[in-house]
Symmetry: C2
Subunit: 301 residues, 2 copies
């Protein structure tokens, strides 16, 4: 028990360490002259420097560390890029025409803090900047290309955007478990898989290692989304930093709505076990990635 | 006079030829299995296959041809990518929160044909797809990187998006000619410069050639935007395929509003001359790019 608590404390310290590293890279990018027009600086900064959990970017850094022994320069850039794409997706999802949310991460959403036009354009700017960053700052073109391809595939018209579109169209009564899994895979899990793969690529992973990391990422992502659905029905708005109970009111297709709360919890546990199993070939070195699974699935906010 | 008419006819045939080529590449991409989720196929197709003028993509192809003697595979991909980014920008600009337009290219805008959420996500999908395409289909990573960098710089937070943001904030009475030129440079001209540069890069242009092409692109782009402002006050909605006289009603900062119609026409002519002058080192081989200037600045729709 005492050692469990200690390892939990270790993990939190390591996560904080990674969050600091990502924030440092982001800070450096934001202050680069000429990269962001003066018209967009404030709104880009507001959303990107908000108190995000930085899970996807920490995953990039840890997966690179697992393969290469340390989080290198390329991993820092890839981490910042995925954080930009994630942030853009939140800004657009929160728009009145999509999820219509006033709060995110405990603060006003971009369109509420500024206005709708600013929120749309700030999202567009962040998405484009992510690719610009990878093209400009990754040393080897061959690595940059693979990272850009991973990120675009995960975020684009056969990934996150498709998932968001399907999510909007899906009402809980017309959606079955298979369909819901497809939506969650596209909307959420592919970006986690992308994070793990980007980290591996930056670290110089071989194909066999990349396959394990991808498997880990997709299972973590699916589990994370189910945990998110569960939180929406069980946590308060203050805990979440965004409006709780909203999925149900909007008639959204979620795991609790479709398979019930108990089965949702069992499914999340099963996915967590599968994620951990995918790390087996890496042995003890992958302890932090294992703890990340526990943290994500037991979170209360 | 007869030879003028003939060369005009030649030019139109050559433009049609390039439009066909771009449309063919776009058609091939749209029908690739797995690249675009089923949820987005219809809306992506609707906007991307609309009757666009394909000026930017034709410029990519012609600039490659100028350098390499023919429009190669890479130029076709770059042309399709820039067309996707241009199309995304139109979809988002037309949204109610931004320019609030019901018609574009003579047809309903995306949010009027479908709905706002679909229009936002379709734009996001097209922007991401452009980078995915360049990462996947350009043969040499070194070339792909340069193209992605050019496109992201032109379209991103120090380019088109910044221009659009500044444009929204600028009311005609508070904007001077310098500020207007900065807006037009970001909003429009950088994408033309990008088209010319991408074509040059695909064709293997050296630095000196690239510099001329960039100069050509930026001058054409600025002239094109002034001509567009002039058309908005002088042409009918039927001619334009979009609502005319809208800039003035929205109090937008345009050249006619700020320097008057006569001076606007003179400025457009001056920019056209400068664009043509930038082509001088290429001699007769650049005739088509010269004619493109004339066509763009004399257009009536």
């Amino acid at each position: 028990m005492a050692s469990g608590k200690k390892s939990q404390k270790d993990f939190s310290a390591q996560l904080e360490n990674k969050v600091r590293l990502v924030n440092k890279v982001i800070g450096r990018i934001l202050s680069k002259p000429g990269l962001i027009g003066s018209e967009l600086k404030e709104s880009v900064r507001y959303s990107l420097e908000g108190p995000g959990k930085r899970i996807r970017s920490a995953m990039v850094l840890w997966c690179c560390e697992l393969i290469a022994g340390r989080a290198n320069h390329d991993a820092g850039i890839a981490a910042a890029a995925i954080e930009m794409v994630h942030t853009y997706s939140l800004i657009h999802d929160d728009l009145p025409a999509i999820d219509d949310d006033d709060y995110r991460r405990g603060r006003l959403t971009s369109h509420r803090k500024f206005d709708e036009a600013t929120a749309i354009l700030t999202g567009d700017a962040l998405l484009t900047l992510a690719f610009e960053l990878l093209a400009k700052e990754i040393e080897k073109p061959q690595i940059a290309m693979r990272l850009i391809n991973e990120l675009a595939e995960a975020a684009g018209p056969a990934g996150m955007v498709a998932g968001q579109m399907a999510d909007l169209k899906a009402a809980s009564r017309r959606t079955d478990e298979n369909m819901l899994r497809r939506i969650h895979t596209n909307k959420t899990a592919k970006m986690f898989r992308c994070a793990a793969a980007m980290g591996g690529i930056c670290g110089g992973a071989n194909e066999r290692q990349l396959k394990c990391l991808r498997e880990y990422g997709i299972k973590v992502g699916l589990g994370f989304q189910i945990a998110d659905d569960i939180l929406d029905v069980s946590a308060s708005s203050v805990q979440l930093g965004k409006t709780s109970g909203k999925d149900a009111r909007q008639g959204k297709a979620t795991y609790p709505a479709i398979v019930g709360l108990d089965k949702s919890k069992k499914l999340a546990k099963k996915l967590a076990d599968e994620a951990v199993a995918a790390l087996k070939p890496f042995g003890k070195k992958s302890d932090t990635l294992r703890r990340l699974v526990t943290m994500l699935l037991n979170r209360t906010k």
